[in-house]
């Protein structure tokens, strides 16, 4: 049992170890101004953790991320289902969603800055705009793929519109929406850093900026490493939640 588990996961851990080794060697053979080895990055991360600075900035970023991300779910999922159910609305709204989905959101940041200034709200808006479109898009696609027969069953049993949403639309669409949610996690992280770079400087974004301006390459690497790991962890969590909602899809 242990042996098979070991053998199955061996390539993964070997690959991780090799990656760290290459990082270490590359870091040691380059100027520390460009790149630092893995060991130095971990040491820098430890120092940041000890000062408490990192934790404070981390929670700052988390607040921004969660607010924007949750807002994108709260708007994206109901809107997606509504667009799938009401044809006229979908035809009217879809072109704008397509345009905004295709627009590099970073390009909108100067506009948001001039409209809303430097507060918390414009940064939330940036995270929201990064995250909301994959949620809407996947929810619409999911909700539209519902078999007309199931809608017919609901109508035949004299379902109210509210019960149709609760018993049919929402449970059917959730697994599809979760695919969008996983994409949204990654995009919201990008949005979070972009907002912290280009609007008022706070959180992990500020940590990276400050470290970079002080030529503290180890500090930059430490923050980026943490953000990457958080991203991976969140997407894994999203996958688990998606599979939970999709148990019935065999």
């Amino acid at each position: 049992m242990l042996n098979t588990a070991l053998r199955r996961h061996a390539p993964f851990w070997i690959s991780i170890a090799a990656g760290i080794a290459i990082w270490e060697i590359a870091g040691r053979s380059t100027s520390q101004a460009f790149m630092v080895p893995f060991s130095v990055t971990i040491k820098a991360l430890w120092q940041l953790l000890l000062t408490g600075e990192f934790i404070r900035q981390f929670f700052d970023s988390a607040e921004l991320f969660l607010t924007g991300f949750m807002l994108s779910l709260a708007v994206g999922m109901p809107l997606g289902m509504l667009l799938a159910r009401v044809r006229v609305l979908r035809i009217g709204v879809e072109p704008y969603i397509m345009i905004l989905y295709a627009t590099p959101m970073v390009a909108l940041i100067p506009f948001i800055l001039s409209m809303m200034g430097f507060g918390f709200a414009p940064k939330v808006l940036v995270v929201f705009l990064f995250a909301v479109f994959p949620v809407i898009y996947n929810t619409v696609e999911g909700a539209r793929s519902i078999k007309p027969e199931l809608i017919e069953v609901a109508q035949s049993f004299r379902s109210t519109e509210w019960a149709l949403w609760r018993d049919v639309m929402v449970p059917y669409t959730l697994p599809y929406a979760m695919t969008g949610v996983r994409q949204a996690i990654g995009r919201a992280l990008v949005g979070m850093i972009a907002a912290e770079f280009f609007l008022s400087s706070t959180g992990l974004g500020q940590l990276i900026m400050t470290a970079s301006q002080n030529f503290d390459t180890a500090g930059v690497f430490a923050s980026v490493l943490v953000i990457a790991l958080i991203g991976v962890a969140l997407m894994r969590a999203g996958l688990v939640i998606e599979q939970h909602f999709a148990r019935w899809r065999q």
């Binding site: 027969e149 035949s156 049993f157 004299r158 019960a163 018993d167 019935w248």
Partner: protein
């Protein structure tokens, strides 16, 4: 609630439950059927057969109020059908089960939509699961069951609301031949326990003759009722019915009526 006030055996008795009068339906420029007239008694099974695409499923959906009709009227009891009404339940060709609901939850669905109290749902759901022979599968999801078991669940969901009209849309067309036969006799057994008015749409002549008290043959484009054949087989219908000499005669009769039509329909399609 009991429909047993008239202790009649199978067949027509008194006032019809369903009255279809001069019914016509278009899809855009395409006229699907026209001038459809028939009644279904309170304890009568009327089978509808016809070539593919003749509109029998459309007709059934009109009776359920799922589709609007253009001409004529449909009365269920005293109610003119313009939308799905209480007391009418449909069994669907592809079962129409909600894949995220268990057997119990699927069977409870119709009752919940009808606003039944929780206690009543808790009492009736196991009763109807048992009636259709699904006891022990209460917590199974549809994907874990065979097609035959899924349709048993679909049947239980429809029966649980204790309808006085059952609309069957080729309910056994999507299961294998052996299961189909089993389900036909299961349906007869259940119907004898709880007789209702039933409209049974099918492709199978054998099935129509075995189950129906009358068989309606739809014909032409747009289709209309070509012939109504009374199936005077002894009640109750059982496996022995299949061996009855009259069964073969009636099956032949429906077959020849339908096949003349089927060739015509094919010809239309080929053009």
């Amino acid at each position: 609630m009991t429909q047993q006030q008239t202790a009649a055996k199978a067949g027509d008795d008194g006032e019809p439950r369903i009255r279809v009068r001069g019914l016509g339906k278009h899809y855009g420029a395409l006229e699907v059927f026209k001038n459809i007239n028939f009644d279904v008694g309170k304890r009568e099974i009327v089978a509808i057969v016809g070539p593919s695409g003749c509109g029998k499923t459309t007709l059934l959906r009109c009776i359920d109020g799922l589709l609007p009709h253009d001409v004529g009227e449909i009365l269920v009891g005293d109610t003119r059908v313009t939308e799905p009404i209480a007391g009418v339940a449909m069994v669907f060709q592809h079962f129409g089960l909600f894949p995220w609901k268990t057997v119990s939850e699927n069977v409870a669905y119709g009752l919940r939509m009808a606003g039944a109290p929780k206690a009543e749902i808790a009492r009736k759901v196991p009763e109807f699961i048992k009636l259709v022979g699904l006891a022990g599968f209460e917590n199974a999801f549809p994907y874990q069951m065979s097609g035959g078991m899924q349709q048993r669940c679909g049947l239980a969901r429809a029966l649980a609301v204790e309808p006085n009209v059952l609309l069957m849309d080729e309910p056994f067309a999507a299961v294998d031949a052996q299961t189909r036969e089993i389900l036909q006799f299961e349906l007869l057994r259940i119907w004898q326990e709880r007789p209702t008015a039933m409209v049974f749409v099918t492709h199978s002549i054998e099935e129509a003759v075995l189950l129906g008290h009358r068989v309606i043959v739809l014909k032409g484009r747009p289709s209309s009722i070509h012939e109504t054949i009374t199936i005077d087989l002894p009640e109750p219908r059982t496996r022995e019915t299949l061996q009855h000499p009259r069964f073969a005669v009636l099956r032949e009769r429906v077959w020849s009526t339908l096949m003349a039509e089927a060739r015509e329909a094919e010809f239309v399609l080929e053009r």
